[in-house]
Structures are given as C-alpha cells and as structure tokens.
C-alpha cells in the first residue's frame, strides 16, 4: 500500500463498527472502574475514548457492602464493592449531563435483583439523549429464586435479556460472567433473547485470607478478581463465546496495554473494555489507543477492522515453512 504521510489518520483507521454503533476506536472503559467519567477528566480527554461504560446503576441508590471491600493479589485485585451506586434518578440528573455535554458516547451498565427492576430501569433510560447502549450486568443474585445468579443459568439469563429487550429499543450488550461451566451456552441464550452484543468477562469469583488475624480479607468473604491475572481466562472465554454465537463481542479482562487489547481483537472481539488498569494509570486508555495506531503503522494495516478476527487457528508454524526459510539463509 502506498504510504501517504498526510493521510496518516485515515490510512491507520481505528474506527470500528460494533453492531449498530460506530465507534471512533475500539477502546472503552469498563463499568465500575471509571466512575461516571468526570473522575478521570484531569488525566485524559474523555472524547478520545470509543465509549464510557459507567458504574452499574440500579433503580434505587445502593450503599454497597461494608468495608474492607478491596484486597490486592498478585497481578490483580479482588473487590466486593457491592454495586454501590447513586440510583437512576441521581444518575440522570447529576452524572450523565457531564458526559453528554462533552459528547462522549455513554453505555449504561444496569442491574437489579428482580426481572422487573431490569425492565423498569431500561424503560427509564429509553430515549435519554447521550446514551448509546445498555450493558446488562447479569452477575447479580435473583432474589426471587433464592439469590441464584441470573447469569449462571441460560434460561434465567434469557429472561433478563427478554425483559430488557421488551422495555427498550436501545442496543443491548449482555455482560457475561466467567463463573459458569459453559459460557457459550449463556452467550447463546442471551443472543437468542434479543441481545445485540455481548461483553465478557465480568470478574472471576475469588477469596483472600489473612494469616495473622485468621479472617477473610473482605467483609463479604468472596469478591471478584480483576486485573492482569485474569487476562488468560478472559481470552479463553472470549474465544468460546465467539465460537458459540455470531454477534459483536467486546473483550474485557486484564487489559493493561495495547498488546493486551490487540490480543482480544485478534480473536475477533470488535472492541475492548479497560478496567483495573485505569486505577494504576489513569491515562492508560490514551496509551492503548496510541499503541494500537502504532501497531497498524508497523503492520501496514489500513484499519483495525482488517486485523479483527484474523487469528490463525493453527497454533504453530508448520515445520516445513520454517525449514524453507532456513534454506534461504546464506
């Protein structure tokens, strides 16, 4: 391809089509790790992001779990925040306007303990300017069926998605939990019930204990592991989901640099979300976006779309190829 230095932006195009959404680039920030956006405004230009997924919202405000809510583990952290949030009214009144005024595409992460709560939330967010999609967090306990997690059972996952689907015309992303035996089954159920896209993964169920006090390190005992430690799990889940369904998938889990992000795109994810890494480097997403652009330059790719899903399933080079190359050596 001819190298035209003036057309640099155009020839290394980072924009992606994600279902019905056209994104500036495939890099979003993950729910619960970026507040409502404003928290990061001192560190980066929010408009540079593909989209911002805001902290999970419920109908009523939730105080969250008692502390300690966090513990660091090797290359990761476990959190049990307990979905603390301001509730949908306060979100619409005092949080959303900041992002909307800056024209940052907002994806609202929603959750509830009852099907009806999911549906009512979705209805409340329908037609609100600035919101481009909903992300359904199905990693919540269903209080009606004894606290079983919606997202761990295909039929329950489907019922949540159906309820939300009926309540809104907004594009729907279902966020999958890795804490299941067959993530592909949940993915199929969600898509069958009307989810336009999927995102994976949420945090990995985990625990930590203190040898001196002989107690769990989290007041909630269990929490969710995130950060670089979970990236291999997230890649495996993303791969399985992509094999199970034919819809746009957003890769999440342990992404801390452009290489990590490109790994998910290579599998076929059409976008990624960056979570825990924002805590360490508040401007990490800018570096990831820049790194992707450099990668396209070096690899002489016109756009990131060319790279998405280009994984060669054969694991290693066939020996014959290597042998041929070797014979070319002087």
């Amino acid at each position: 391809m001819a190298q035209n230095p003036d057309a640099r932006g155009a020839s290394h195009d980072l924009s992606v089509q994600l279902g019905p959404l056209r994104l500036k680039n495939p890099v979003m920030v993950a729910s619960g790790t970026f507040g409502y956006g404003e928290e990061y405004a001192d560190f980066l230009d929010l408009t540079a992001l593909g989209a911002v997924v805001v902290k999970g919202i419920s109908l009523a405000p939730r105080p969250g779990n008692p502390p300690p809510r966090l513990v660091e583990t090797p290359a990761g952290m476990i959190n049990a925040i307990g979905l603390e949030n301001v509730g949908v009214d306060a979100f619409l009144q005092s949080k959303l306007p900041y992002l909307r005024d800056r024209q940052v595409p907002v994806i609202v992460n929603i959750f509830g303990n009852l099907l009806e709560e999911y549906a009512e939330l979705a209805a409340r967010l329908e037609g609100v300017p600035g919101i481009v999609a909903l992300e359904i967090n199905i990693s919540c306990p269903n209080v009606k069926s004894g606290g079983m997690i919606f997202g761990t059972e295909p039929s329950m996952a489907a019922r949540v998605v159906e309820a939300v689907r009926r309540a809104t015309t907004l594009p729907l992303i279902t966020k999958l939990t890795p804490n299941v035996t067959h993530i592909g089954e949940i993915a199929k159920a969600a898509v069958g019930a009307g989810s336009d896209m999927l995102s994976c993964i949420n945090t990995v169920a985990a625990m930590a204990v203190d040898i001196f006090s002989r107690r769990p390190k989290l007041a909630n005992v269990f929490g969710g592991l995130s950060g670089p430690a979970i990236k291999p799990i997230a890649l495996r889940c993303t791969y399985e989901v992509l094999q199970a369904v034919d819809c746009p998938v957003i890769g999440i889990g342990g992404i801390a640099n452009a290489t990590d992000a490109l790994e998910f795109l290579l599998l076929g994810a059409r976008a990624v979300q960056v979570g825990t890494a924002n805590f360490v480097h508040p401007a990490v997403t800018r570096e990831i976006i820049e790194g992707m652009r450099r990668f396209l330059e070096v690899e002489r790719l016109g756009g990131v779309e060319e790279y998405i899903g280009s994984l060669n399933r054969e694991c290693l080079f066939p020996f014959a190829e290597i042998a041929c190359e070797m014979t070319d050596l002087p």
Partner: protein
C-alpha cells in the same frame, strides 16, 4: 484543585526510626500544589506485582526546593520494594488527593495534635504550617501527644522538641516517656494543665483514632482526624475506600463515606465508629522475601 501525574525521582532515603523510612522525592509540581493532610498515590515499582499504587501522606512539602517527603513504615510488599529504591529511581506520583487539614483561624488558642506510630507522618507538615501561619499564639501552644509501641519507633527530638512545641511522648512498653496509651496521656495532661484546646488533629491506628474521637466528642473539641482505608484508585472511581458514615437518625439506611474523596480528614462526628471492620492491624512481622 487539579490532580495530575508526575514522574518524580528518589533523592535519598534514610531509616529514621525502626522500620521507618524517610523518603525525599524530587517532584516540583506536586510540591507546589500539595497541602498538609492531603495524600498521593505512589507507584512503588513498575510491573504487575504489586499492581496498585500505594497511598501516602505528605510528610513535608517543600515548594521552594521542589521536594516532597514521605515518612513510611515497612509493613508489606509495596513498602518493602519502596525501601529498596536507590537515589535516582524514577517513581510515578498521582496527586494531590483528598481534602487536607484546615488551619484554625488566627488566635484561636492552643491546639492538640495526637500521633500514633507512623501517624506522625502528615502531622509533621501540619505542625510546620501551624508554626508558619496557623492561628496559634506561641509554638508551645501546639501540644503534640506522640505515642508508639516502643521508643525505637519514634522520631528523634531534633525533629519535634527542637521546634519549640510542647511534646508529650508515650510508649506501650514504657521504654520512652509515659508508659501506656497516648490517649490516656492526653486525658491526664489536658486535665492537669487545664488546657482548652480550640482544635484537635490526629493520625494513627484505628484503635487510637477511636479513643481520640470519643475524647473530642466528650470535650466538644472540633476535630480533624486523618483516617485510612484500603485504596485502589485514590480518585473516587473504585468506591473501595468506604467508611461507615454517621447516621442522621437510627432508622436511616447505612451509607458510606469515601476516604479518598470525602477525606482523608474527617470530623469525629461524621464516622459511625462501631461499624468499622478491619481484618486486623498490620502485622508486626511479615513473611516476605
């Protein structure tokens, strides 16, 4: 009150008391922006383990020299790595964060400062500010109550007594000053000297803060307590640094304050003390090699 990232540089480190290091960092922008009682998040090492930044208070803020100082105790992996940073090591700072101390109005009267162990860290800068511009008549009107487990963990006289302030030391093992809890010493001295403090500042372990808070509430002394919590982000995004907030009334629902954005300085009345849970104080030894 803009927050920013700054690439700082280690100038020197010194073990000034047992397991207690003073770190001088070249970070001119931070030194120009920080206030006493605020904190910053320091990346103690590149790489993934430890992954998260660690919160530290400003021990000294020296804008003319472009230097900030940290006083820290080695308690685990992060502080262990930090203690091994040689002069010249680049370290990333994120700050300044949190609300910081408020200085009393001019001529407000004597102030009481209570430090427990490494809690002396932010109080040193506070004392400097009180001396330089606070509303305290004479240096001796700053009454510092300084407790630790043992004398070897305390900062030496040249950093405190030599400032001309009134210092009362205590140790749990009686090796230096009053033998017993610093809060008991506080009760005694205030009564004996009939002190009428206009303001109380404190930083130290949770158990001490609890007793200080009770004392301040009992004696109706306005208080500013520097509190801690485990933190991931330091900027209000993760909601990990929660402390139970005092209830408006008994029927109201639990809700939480966040140390990084609502604090780290809180009035004794704003916390619901009996609801705080921790998994224990930092261990006195740690298994790490």
């Amino acid at each position: 009150m803009q927050k920013f990232l700054e690439e700082g540089r280690v100038l020197e480190q010194q073990e000034v008391a047992r397991q207690t290091h003073r770190l001088r960092l070249e970070a001119p922008r931070m030194a120009g922006a920080a206030r006493a009682g605020q904190f910053f998040m320091l990346q103690v090492r590149e790489g993934m383990d430890p992954l998260l930044r660690r919160p530290f208070s400003f021990h000294r803020i020296l804008p003319e020299e472009g230097i900030v100082e940290v006083l820290y105790r080695v308690v685990g992996k992060g502080t262990w790595w930090l203690s091994r940073c040689a002069p010249g090591t680049p370290l990333s700072l994120l700050g300044p964060l949190g609300n910081g101390f408020e200085l009393p109005p001019i001529a407000a009267g004597p102030v009481v400062v209570v430090a427990g162990g490494i809690g002396i860290a932010p109080l040193q800068e506070l004392i400097q500010q009180l001396l330089a511009k606070g509303g305290v008549g004479r240096p001796a009107d700053i009454h510092l109550f300084y407790g630790a487990r043992t004398g070897a963990e305390q900062l030496p006289e040249n950093l405190l007594e030599d400032l001309g302030i009134s210092v009362y030391r205590s140790t749990d093992d009686g090796s230096l000053g009053y033998g017993g809890f610093v809060t008991d010493l506080l009760r005694r001295v205030v009564q004996e000297k009939n002190l009428q403090p206009s303001q109380l500042y404190a930083c130290g372990p949770l158990a001490m803060q609890y007793h200080v808070a009770r004392w301040a509430l009992e004696h109706k002394v306005p208080s500013q307590l520097s509190l801690e919590s485990l933190m991931a982000c330091g900027i209000g995004a993760c909601l990990g640094c929660a402390l139970p907030a005092a209830q408006a009334d008994a029927s109201s629902q639990d809700h939480y304050l966040h140390v990084c954005k609502d604090g780290p300085i809180f009035g004794a009345e704003s916390i619901q003390w009996h609801k705080i849970q921790t998994h224990g104080a930092p261990p006195t030894i740690f298994l790490y090699s």
